[in-house]
Amino acid sequence: MTASPPAATVKDNREKLLERAMSRYQYSGDALIEVLHTAQELYGFLPPALLKTIAHKLRLPASRVLGVASFYHFFSLQPKAAHTFVVCLGTACYVAGALGLVEALDRSGAKPGSSGAKNDVSVQTARCIGACGLAPALIYDGVVHARATPQLIKAELERIGVK
């Protein structure tokens, strides 16, 4: 008997979960967006190999899978950074000065749509997160901050060591 289990048994659990999601939709191509949602939940982002697997399993052309994945802003084809700032740029937040928040992040080298200097901060802008009553709103690592200020951003960035 060997001490270590055969490679197949330590197979990534995520693969199984993705498989289950696809079979729930009977591997139908119509379920592509749902499957991509699941894949992104499991893997954090959608690398080409993953898209290829999905294309094969759903029997869809690879270009169509990428075409769909790239159409929707929710899907990320790049790995996510450790920390994410989402600045709401909905009308209410815009009127309330959300651009100041983007500028504050910008000053720290973290530009919208890109990862920051240390590649651990990503900055995104959102088209209204629906917290208009609390404008300007900022989602920092999944937590909504109402009436965010550049000072708040500065403090958070300092806390995680981004200058």
Binding site: S63, R64, L66, G67
Partner: protein, 238 residues
Amino acid sequence: MSVKTLEIDGRMLTGRTGETVFAVAWDHGIQIPRLCHVGGLSDVGACRLCLVEIEGRKRLQASCLTLIEEGMVVKTATPKLKSHRKLIVELLLAERNHVCSVCVMNGECELQDLAASHGVDHVRLRYQFPSLPVDTSHERFGIDHNRCILCTRCVRVCDEVEGAHTWDVCGRGTASHIISDLGEPWGESDTCTSCGKCVQVCPTGALFSKGKTVAEMRKDRGFLKYIVTAREKKQWIG
């Protein structure tokens, strides 16, 4: 098959039920401009050049997607339509880097022809000058994204006629671009059959045969109708 009578640009014309306004007009020599339509492929109504005015309809209609109806009254070349078409051509010219003088399709390009026929002697809009690549990794063909107008003829011919679906549109809005497979270089595509149909249907010099130089490219679209008809009628059997 029933026949319908309609009026296009003051002429009484007839067409078969199920035919589009665009098809009936062209059959009778009324050449409505178009970029995304090509005979033999499905229509998407994206270029908006074939828009026509139809009496009783509030909005302009894409003639390539509008089926003829009995008694329809259609106008295809009103001053309003012409001015819209001209501006659409200008939008396209300003959107990417269309440099006719060094283009393989110079003199044969559908976009260039439209610009000429619509009197686009200068572009009133700001050129956007995007920085776009050329992919010549394929053994026989190349794609120059600078000349692409996103008409998706290549996507459709590859999907509908060749059946490979190598091409699709990636991204959205102004960032849209044509991709092969998962965005790899064309030469690395494992679905492309190198049939060259996409190259032939491309209205501009975006898709070209390698080795062709300035103004040397001639595209043949006759094959499409032939293949499609042959397939529909199963002409190869018997």
